[in-house]
Symmetry: C2
């Protein structure tokens, strides 16, 4: 039986999703600290900390959250909140970890379009469960101004991944996004389109038929409530979600300095696999992919087939594979890195991932990759300031929500 959040929580988060532009770490921290209901109340009354209140501004006076929820219902959508069982908590854990690393001082913080901050809520349209669909998913991203080559290869790749039971996650744009959806749909596989506007809007308009096909098997997802417009900066904010919701991101075609490259960079920062598909060196649309592949520090893997993509995300999958299947042998199933990180965790005072990486003798991204597994097994816990081993008096097993 699945648990769902109460009406007050859902209403509060619906309000927050319209009042605050996503990507603000200060707002996210405030909501984490006082809870969504109190955060909503304080912001409505103008009693939130000034820095947070300023981010809401005049929107504090408005409240159309009940209308938004109704409007969503009318188009077959719902608001999924972190308090719901459907929330892909383990998948999005990477954003929680990344957000903890963002400095407190505003002047030291990255731009909102760059910040790796978890979503406060997600508007989801479609019948399938969000957590279930993104569990084994790969992002295919690329240029809107794609070539016939890029579209062909994106569709082939999506088809191959779909056939093997993987979900394709992408945006809803022309070019590579659309080709990826079409390829997966042709294999009868579900896809998730993460939009930068309300899930009731078809943007671009000519993709309304495509979105309807996506909805038959998959989902439209957005951080913005119904009716919201696809503003330019929202695409940049949205990109982190595509990276975070998937086990890996494949950049199919990208010009130099394109948005797809930014998504690839986000995926890397979140400890996800980043892959790029090569193309003719004579094609401007492959310049970005080749740039990624030349950057040896970023560890971007060249992929040419669906099997090669799975070789990459499969490795990560080995760490996350089926923890429920062997509940009594949590320690046995851990990878070498996971064991070292567990051994590095202190008993009392929590320490940040950087410190764990130093003690365990691995990269920070490795620590961020294995912490969700350790947490899932209830072997470690977040103290609010750092990670420590779960005290032994606490029962082991999946924690109640």
């Amino acid at each position: 039986m699945s648990a769902a959040a109460g009406w007050d929580v859902r209403l509060a988060r619906a309000w927050l999703s319209r009042a605050v532009e996503p990507g603000s770490v200060d707002v996210w921290r405030f909501v984490q600290r006082v809870g969504p209901v109190d955060a909503h109340r304080a912001l409505r009354r103008g009693e939130a900390p000034p820095a947070v209140q300023a981010l809401v501004g005049k929107r504090a006076a408005e409240d159309v959250s009940a209308d938004d929820l109704l409007r969503a219902e009318r188009c077959g959508a719902r608001l999924v909140v972190p308090e719901d069982d459907e929330w892909p908590a383990l998948t999005l854990h990477c954003l929680t970890l990344a957000a903890h690393d963002i400095p407190v001082e505003r002047r030291d913080q990255p731009d909102r379009t760059q910040a790796l901050v978890p979503p406060l809520a997600l508007w989801v349209r479609g019948d399938r469960g969000l957590d279930e669909l993104v569990d084994r998913s790969v992002a295919l991203v690329g240029s809107r101004a794609s070539t016939a080559y890029g579209e062909h290869v994106a569709a082939e790749l999506a088809h191959g991944l779909g056939e093997r039971g993987w979900t394709i996650v992408s945006g809803g744009a022309f070019g590579i996004d659309a080709a990826a959806h079409r390829g997966a749909l042709a294999a009868g596989a579900p896809t998730v389109a993460v939009l930068a506007c309300g899930v009731d809007r078809a943007y671009p308009h000519s993709h309304s038929a495509l979105f309807h096909r996506v909805l038959e098997e998959g989902l439209l997802v957005s951080e913005w409530p119904p009716g919201c417009a696809p503003l330019r900066h929202r695409f940049l904010v949205r990109n982190r979600l595509i990276a975070a919701l998937t086990r890996g991101t494949v950049v199919v075609e990208a010009a130099a300095r394109s948005g797809a490259l930014a998504t690839g960079k986000r995926a890397r920062d979140l400890g996800r696999q980043v892959m790029a598909l090569p193309g003719p060196v004579t094609s401007a649309m492959s310049v970005g992919c080749h740039e990624l592949l030349r950057d040896t520090e970023r560890q971007v893997t060249l992929v040419t087939t669906a099997a090669e993509v799975l070789q990459q995300v499969g490795r990560l999958g080995a760490d996350l594979a089926d923890p429920a299947a062997r509940p009594g042998s949590a320690l046995d199933s851990l990878s070498d890195v996971a064991r070292r990180v567990l051994d590095a965790c202190p008993v009392r005072t929590g320490v940040p991932p950087e410190r764990l990486a130093t003690i365990a003798g691995c990269e920070v991204v490795d620590v961020l990759r294995v912490l969700p597994v350790l947490e899932l097994h209830d072997l470690v816990e977040w103290t609010g300031t750092g990670w420590r081993v779960t005290p032994p008096d606490r029962p082991r097993g999946r924690r109640p929500r």
Copy 2:
């Protein structure tokens, strides 16, 4: 004034080049030990060690070396031997080092087509000096069954490298080889074609016009004397020379398991830079390149332009750059790795490169890369069994030959 070997040495090596198929480490070691003149005499009389004598077999009874030298002269060719100043000693040093690592026991030795053994002599046709031409050179290799894309890109790359004063080294085959020569020649740059047959033979025949254009500015080079046929196995033996003569090898187009990949592997084993050019994933002729680029252990760099190629070989160049310019500051000009390897060298008993790598804390390929520099500065010397620092009573500076 350049020094040249005596007639007896040249005649002996001419004889050896016909009597022994290149790539045999036992023959090379025998010639190194007793010298070419005595080696020639012993083999002619059937008095060489049985293992070596067996490799010459019936050819011991024949002697057409004077004819070969005459035949070479008639077509504007000459025999360049290690005793000549024109011999690219520093460049080919990597093969000497690699040969030292080949086991003594025949059963432990690699196949002759795989063995990294220095040539006993090189037949060179053309006016330019071999050492001078290969000093700043890059190998472009690839499939005979190339696509229009591959040929276009090979020609562009060769043109760009030629414009920047670099020599292109390749084979003489159809496809990528020919496109590389043509691209460089169009830039008025010299090229070197390393053949698997006599330098008086145009193989393939339809390339005779191309070879004549190569000869105007560059060279035809072969280990086999005039008239020799391009036997299949000779191409494999030849590939190590293309890798060894250049600072780096670029694989432009290659099917899976192609000969171009083998050349790339040789280059890597010799501590040279290996680069690969990507192409459409839909092209069978790019599968080999993508395979190379996916193999993270081999450290193959993706390149798309001549500038990117120079970025790779330039690094190596920095280590080798103009040692003559600052004779008094040999130690200052050394790279960090070179310094560590020098510090790792013992004073008395020489040690093999593997041991140096362990002490210096670097890879064996790094050791093999810096040893020629250290030797050039007379900082280290080969004792016959290993490397040690040059005794202080020996004068520093370029050793007399």
